[in-house]
């Protein structure tokens, strides 16, 4: 996913004012139909609103909502059905659609796919679910707080560190012994 220059928009003067829609390239601002303040919206859980009449913003910007504005429920549901089809986790979207709730959708930002795939292949079936899930949870939080570049770097470091820990010690020592022997022969 591209993490080019961010399109920052000025925030509303009152932090809890949801009358102005705004989003940053690597963050999504969430709104709720029934909430008049941000704190109420947070309690109700995440949903997304798409600008009515706009082209699917997800498609245009490779997975991130460029802007979000408050819409009526009817307008929202018209777009949700389209959005759910587009956010099906294709290679270019960078987003995996998790599920559609009756009042919104929850979107999980996707970590670096190659790193995730390597870890998936290295882990046992039993370990995959828990460990990859833990990383996904932390990754999502880091992405919101620190941006996509930081989160991606953190994820890749975690995968490398985890692989070193998970490879059986006998294999690690075997690899080290082979490397030492190879160097000895070169000298």
């Amino acid at each position: 996913m591209s993490d080019n220059s961010r399109d920052h928009r000025s925030r509303a003067d009152a932090p809890d004012d949801l009358s102005h829609g705004e989003a940053e390239r690597s963050r999504v601002v969430l709104f709720s139909f029934n909430a008049s303040t941000r704190s109420e919206a947070d309690e109700q859980g995440p949903i997304y609103a798409v600008r009515p009449g706009a082209d699917l913003i997800v498609k245009a910007h490779k997975g991130w909502l460029e802007s979000a504005v408050k819409v009526t429920p009817v307008e929202f549901y018209e777009h949700v059905s389209l959005l759910s089809k587009e956010l099906s986790g294709g290679p270019d979207t960078g987003i995996d659609l998790m599920y559609v709730r009756h009042h919104g959708i929850s979107v999980q930002p996707a970590p670096p796919r190659l790193a995730e795939r390597v870890l998936y292949l290295a882990l046992s079936k039993k370990a995959r679910e828990n460990l990859i899930g833990d990383l996904a949870e932390e990754y999502a939080g880091l992405r919101v707080r620190h941006g996509v570049r930081f989160a991606n770097l953190w994820y890749r470091k975690q995968v490398c560190g985890s692989l070193l820990s998970l490879v059986p010690r006998a294999i690690r020592w075997g690899l080290l012994a082979s490397a030492v022997e190879w160097v000895r022969r070169q000298l």
Binding site: D96, M98, Y99, S106, Q108, A127, E129, N130, L131, I132, G133, D134, L135, A136, E137, E138, A140, K157, Q158, C160, G161, S162, L163, L164, S165, L166
Partner: protein, 115 residues
């Protein structure tokens, strides 16, 4: 000289303490974050799980599957709880450490002050 059977490595200690601190919310990611914050060094989730698996084999912790959440890509959490044997191992490790430190002047007060 007899040595306690269940002394722990330093990372095992950290992981067990973190699990105890977190109580009912002790699962992989939280344990990792707790150890990371306490030690100030980057800790990989794989190292945490490798340690927890080892501790579980020794009977020091018990694990069970929790709920899946969308934030985790629909994947379940694995919760951990320290068993009695784990608490005993922590105490034995601390006792062994205290025994080794007897009479050793490190130039500071272990309670946090300056000797």
């Amino acid at each position: 000289m007899n040595t306690p059977k269940n002394t722990l490595g330093s990372f095992e200690e950290f992981v067990l303490f973190a699990t105890l601190r977190l109580g009912e919310q002790a699962y992989g990611a939280k344990i990792r974050q707790t150890v990371d914050e306490a030690t100030g060094r980057s800790v990989s989730i794989g190292a945490v799980y490798a340690t927890l698996d080892r501790l579980e084999r020794k009977g020091f912790v018990r694990s069970w599957q929790g709920e899946a959440t969308p934030e985790r890509g629909g994947r379940a959490k694995r919760y951990f709880r320290v068993e009695g044997a784990g608490v005993r191992a922590l105490n034995e490790t601390r006792a062994a450490r205290n025994k080794l430190m007897e009479g050793v002047n490190l130039g500071f007060d272990p309670a946090g002050g300056v000797a």
